[in-house]
Symmetry: C2
DNA sequence: GCCGTTCTGTGCGCTACCGAACATTCCGGC
DNA sequence: GCCGGAATGTTCGGTAGCGCACAGAACGGC
């Protein structure tokens, strides 16, 4: 149950990086980095889930990407220094490795496998954000909720998700009432059960059927990413 | 009137790359690369404008990013090989440099300034797509149209844009009628004048005032990008 | 067991946008 | 000068989501 990006490194790279890997437990809703501000650490989730969120001037937020144990935060900061254009929030608490950006940068600049892995990951991030952007535009709250639940479920240990409807609404960029309605409809249909911020997915299959095709595409992209980072061809 | 990414290279890098720079004139609406397919060339606009467009299974499209002489296509393909997750379409015709991906990759792997420039550019792309995603979700067709016009204008030679309302609708991911209505309202207010695919911007200032704040943010990000690629600190 | 807080449910009027159908205007080619 | 196609204009009913206001329900601390 490690992190795929780290697991894909060569032995030598891992030896160099290991002293800088700091195991941490991330608390729900913690903000790991803030829009525009300087990034000090990259986080490599092993058991937690992190959301990348765009924050508008009026405080409205929109989730642009999700990071589980297939990714990391701050990749672009590692590649270029400076800040990232998004806020990173812990969506599901749990274990992760924290690494100083400087250490990551040093390894990145060596131009080895770590660099290729991180670049491949950045490509996935761009694709993911494009897909979510299109989904935002086109699909109903109901469909998006299904996609959101599944994207969390794929990265979770069990069939449980911890998030209030208020929180989900903020991520999807819709009203809380809209989420209430969609969630209540899902519950009536027996796909999920929830209460006060705890959601249990009862029928993953039916949830997938109800979600828009964006979910399948996003999932496929993630699987390709994982395959690629382990591939000798990278 | 060159391309900023190329202009920021060192003399030595430019000497190596110059033999591979192929000046081309891009025709309006040409598709430079297609979603998912293998990318053979990167394009560095000098006088044209290119749109990065997400295409859904049903054919619906959504513009995720714009590229003028501050950027290039296929950056992520250069960094990692393989395809890009978006379609690139010529939005305004004109000159560009075409370069084989293999040549770009070779230069990228040297790990010099070109690499840092391209990475910095990828960071801008991620930020841009996040901003546009949020804008898609939140703002009215009218506001988005203003933003779209301005984003083209910034990269155009004069105050003219060539694009039918049908075309704009496809980029913004809205109905053609919605664009007709918004455009006609802008014309009545004296901000633009248009006819059959030719749009003239009459009052840039008022257009900016009417656009959502996304435009200013996107523009600021682009300006920072251009500043950074020329900066010695990169 | 009480109470404040957090979370969820519901109703209402409103607006922006959608989908479809059709009318009109303009341009370029013959 | 005529004609076909492309671009734009307009209308109409339908609906998803918004903003607001408030009601109930559950949990957590004391």
């Amino acid at each position: 149950m490690g992190n795929h990006l780290l697991a894909a490194l060569t032995g030598e790279e891992m030896r160099r990086l290991r002293p800088h890997l700091e195991p941490v437990t991330l608390q729900r809703r913690a903000t790991l980095h803030e829009t525009g501000s300087r990034v000090l650490h990259g986080y490599f989730p092993t058991e937690c889930v992190i959301s990348m969120v765009h924050v508008a001037a009026d405080g409205n937020s929109t989730e642009i990407g999700v990071i589980g144990n297939e990714g990391c935060t701050g990749a672009s900061a590692v590649a270029t220094g400076g800040g990232v254009p998004l806020r990173a929030v812990v969506r599901a608490p749990g274990a992760a490795f924290r690494v100083k950006v400087a250490a990551l940068q040093a390894e990145f600049r060596r131009g080895g496998r770590f660099q290729r892995v991180l670049l491949r990951y950045m490509r996935a991030v761009i694709g993911q954000s494009a897909q979510i952007a299109a989904c935002n535009r086109r699909h109903s709250v109901d469909q998006q909720l299904c996609r959101w639940l599944l994207s969390g479920l794929d990265r979770a240990a069990d069939n449980q998700l911890a998030m209030t409807q208020e929180g989900i609404a903020a991520m999807l960029g819709v009203r809380r009432e809209g989420v209430t309605e969609a969630a209540s409809s899902l519950q009536k249909a027996g796909l999920i059960r929830y209460s006060r911020g705890r959601i249990a997915v009862l029928s993953r299959g039916r949830l997938e059927a109800r979600a828009c095709e964006c979910y399948k595409l996003l999932r496929g992209e993630t699987e390709r990413l994982v395959r690629d980072v382990y591939s000798a061809k990278l």
